[in-house]
C-alpha cells in the first residue's frame, strides 16, 4: 500500500484514540479520586457517568469565549495554541508495538506513527517549547496571579527538565541508541530463563533509581500534585490560566493530560520494556483478564444485582468485555493485540499512579520544591548516570 495512505490512516486512528482517551482520562481521574475519598464521583450522565466527558466537551465548546480587555491579545491567543500543539505532537514518535502484518493482507507496518533515530529527544524538545505556552499565558494575561503562576511553572519546568534528561540518559547508555524502537528491541532478551530484560531489572537495580527520578520529574514537568504550585488555587486562583475561558481553557487542560500520557508512554518504553510482557509465556493473560472482568460484570449484572435500577449497563459491558477477551485469543489478531495490551496496561498503571498520588499527597511549598530539584534530584540523577556509565563500561 502507498506509504502516504498508510501513514494517513495510522495518523487518523492514533489521533482519534488519543483524543478520546484524553477525554476519558479525566473521567477516570474523577472516578478514582472519588473512590479514594469514599465518594461516588460523576454518576449522572450515562451509566457510571460514562458520558460525562462528552457533556463536558459540549459544555466547554459552547461556553462564552471571553477575551479580557487588558490582555496582550496576540500572545494571549498564541499561548494555548503552542501548548496544545506541542503536547499532541510528541505522541507521533511513540512506538506502541513491534512490526506487524495487517490480518488478511500482506501489508507490513509498525505499530506507531514513526520511528526517528533521535526519537527520545523529540518529547524533550516538545516539552521544552511547551514551557513557552505557560510562560506566555501567564505574562500576557496581565494579571498578577496569572503572572506568578506562569513564572512558577516555567522556573519549575526548566529546573526539573535537567534531572529528567539526566535520568533518561541512563537507559540510553544501556541500550546504546536514541531510537525508541531499538531501545525496546534491546530489552527483548530473556534472562535467567524467566524474566524479560526490562531496563529497571538490569545492572543491580541502578536504572530503577533513574526510573524513580524520572517519575518524580515527570510529575513536576506536567505540573501535577504534589508539584502543582503553578495552579495552587488557594494562593493563585488558578495560576497561569486564570484569565482563560471556554475552549482556550480546555486547550490547557488537554495539553496537561496529553503531556501526562506521553511522559507515561516514555517511561514505559525507556524503563518498563515497552510492549514486552514481564515473563515469556503469558500470551493467554490479556484475554483472560478481559474475559474474567466480563464474567464478573455479568455476574453482578444478572445474578447478584449490584445496580438494581439499571439492569442493562452491567450485562452489556460484561458481554463487551468477554468479546474483547475472546478477540485477544484469536491467533490471527494476537501479534497485534498482545503487545498493545502490555503497552497500554503499563501506561495506564503509571497514569493511575499519577491519580493515586494526586488523591494522597498535599502540595509542596515553593522553596521546598526548588530545593528538592537542585539539592536532591539533580545530584542523585548525576550519581545514577555515573554508576550506570561505569557498569556499562565494565560489562560491555
Amino acid at each position: 500500500m502507498d506509504f502516504l495512505l498508510l501513514s494517513l490512516i495510522k495518523t487518523g486512528l492514533v489521533a482519534f484514540v488519543f483524543l478520546t482517551a484524553l477525554a476519558y482520562l479525566q473521567w477516570i481521574e474523577r472516578k478514582v479520586i472519588a473512590h479514594v475519598q469514599v465518594r461516588v464521583g460523576p454518576n449522572r450522565v450515562g451509566p457510571h457517568g460514562l458520558l460525562q466527558p462528552l457533556t463536558d466537551t459540549i459544555k466547554l465548546l459552547t461556553k462564552e469565549d471571553l477575551i479580557p480587555a487588558h490582555v496582550n491579545k496576540f500572545f494571549y491567543l498564541l499561548a494555548p495554541v503552542i501548548g496544545v500543539a506541542m503536547a499532541l505532537i510528541s505522541i507521533s514518535v511513540i512506538p506502541f508495538g513491534p512490526k506487524i502484518t495487517v490480518p488478511f493482507t500482506s501489508i507490513e507496518t509498525y505499530l506507531g506513527l514513526t520511528d526517528l533515530n533521535i526519537g527520545v529527544l523529540v518529547p524533550l524538545a516538545c516539552s521544552g517549547i511547551g514551557v513557552y505556552a505557560v510562560a506566555l499565558a501567564g505574562w500576557s494575561s496581565n494579571n498578577k496571579y496569572a503572572l506568578l503562576g506562569g513564572l512558577r511553572a516555567s522556573a519549575q519546568m526548566v529546573s526539573y527538565e535537567l534531572p529528567l534528561a539526566v535520568a533518561i540518559a541512563a537507559p540510553l547508555l544501556m541500550h546504546n541508541s536514541l531510537s525508541m524502537r531499538e531501545i525496546v528491541e534491546s530489552q527483548n532478551v530473556v534472562k535467567w530463563g524467566f524474566l524479560y530484560n526490562w531496563s529497571i531489572f538490569s545492572y543491580f537495580g541502578i536504572p530503577f533509581v533513574a526510573f524513580i527520578i524520572f517519575l518524580i520529574c515527570a510529575f513536576a514537568e506536567t505540573n501535577r500534585i504534589p508539584f502543582d504550585l503553578p495552579e495552587a488555587e488557594n494562593e493563585l486562583v488558578a495560576g497561569f490560566h486564570t484569565e482563560y475561558s471556554s475552549m482556550k481553557f480546555a486547550a490547557f487542560f488537554m495539553a496537561e493530560y496529553a503531556n501526562m500520557t506521553t511522559i507515561c508512554c516514555l517511561a514505559v518504553i525507556l524503563f518498563l520494556g515497552g510492549w514486552l510482557p514481564p515473563t515469556p509465556g503469558l500470551d493467554w493473560v490479556p484475554g483472560a483478564v478481559f474475559f474474567a472482568s466480563g464474567v464478573l460484570m455479568l455476574y453482578h449484572g444478572t445474578v447478584n444485582l449490584a445496580r438494581a435500577r439499571d439492569r442493562i449497563s452491567l450485562p452489556l459491558f460484561g458481554v463487551i468485555f468477554c468479546g474483547i477477551g475472546v478477540l485477544h485469543w484469536i491467533p490471527v489478531l494476537m501479534p497485534i493485540t498482545t503487545p498493545l495490551f502490555w503497552f497500554l496496561s503499563k501506561t495506564l498503571f503509571l497514569l493511575f499512579l499519577y491519580i493515586w498520588v494526586r488523591a494522597t499527597l498535599p502540595r509542596f511549598r515553593y522553596d521546598q520544591l526548588m530545593h528538592f530539584a537542585w539539592g536532591w534530584m539533580f545530584p542523585v540523577s548525576i550519581g545514577t548516570l555515573f554508576a550506570t556509565g561505569l557498569l556499562v563500561a565494565v560489562w560491555k
Binding site: I129, S154, V158
Partner: protein, 167 residues
C-alpha cells in the same frame, strides 16, 4: 519538496530575524529569536542532521527560556517608546551602507567557496548522535574540553556578579 521546504523555512528565519531587531517589545523579540532557532532546526533536519536539529531546539529554546524569565521577572520591561523623530541621516547613509555590506559579504562567501561543489539535501551524514559524539570526544576533544572550562568560568563569573552581598 526539499527546496520548497528550504525556501519556506529560510524565509521564516530571515523574517523572524528582522522582526527580532525591529520589535520594540522585548518579549516579542525573544519570541522571534525562538522562531529563528526553530526554523534553523528545520534546516538542519533537511540537511540530514537530526541530532543537531534536536539539540538546537532543546538547548537554544531552553536557553532563551531563561532569557525570557529574566525579561519578565527582573527587567519588568514594557514596549520601548518610539523615538520622537527619526533621523534622516540614518536613512540616507544607513540603507546604502547596509546594502554595500551585504554585497561585500555575499562576494566574499562566493569567492571563498569553490563553485563546483553544490550542497545537496541528504548528502550530509555527520549529523547523527554517534557522529557528533565521535567528532566531539575523539577528533575535537581538546577544543571541547577547553570550551567547557570556559563556559564554567563564565557561569562562576555570573554567579559572583549576581550574588547579593551577604555581610
Amino acid at each position: 519538496m526539499d527546496p520548497i521546504l528550504f525556501a519556506i523555512f529560510a524565509g521564516i528565519a530571515v523574517v523572524c530575524g528582522i522582526v527580532m531587531v525591529t520589535q520594540r517589545h522585548p518579549i516579542a523579540s525573544a519570541l522571534s529569536l525562538i522562531g529563528v532557532m526553530g526554523s534553523l532546526a528545520v534546516l538542519y533536519l533537511l540537511l540530514g542532521a537530526e541530532f543537531i536539529a534536536a539539540a538546537q531546539v532543546i538547548v537554544y529554546a531552553g536557553a532563551i527560556m531563561v532569557l525570557f524569565l529574566f525579561v519578565i521577572m527582573l527587567l519588568n520591561a514594557g514596549a520601548e517608546p518610539k523615538p520622537l523623530r527619526s533621523s534622516y541621516l540614518a536613512g540616507f547613509l544607513g540603507v546604502p551602507m547596509v546594502l554595500a555590506l551585504m554585497g561585500l559579504l555575499g562576494y566574499l562567501v562566493k569567492r571563498s567557496f569553490p563553485l563546483d561543489v553544490t550542497v545537496r539535501f541528504g548528502d550530509f551524514t555527520g549529523g547523527s548522535a554517534k557522529a557528533v559524539g565521535d567528532a566531539l570526544f575523539r577528533k575535537y576533544l581538546l577544543p571541547f574540553e577547553v570550551t567547557s572550562v570556559l563556559v564554567l568560568i563564565a557561569i562562576l563569573g555570573a554567579v559572583v556578579l549576581a550574588r547579593k552581598e551577604m555581610d
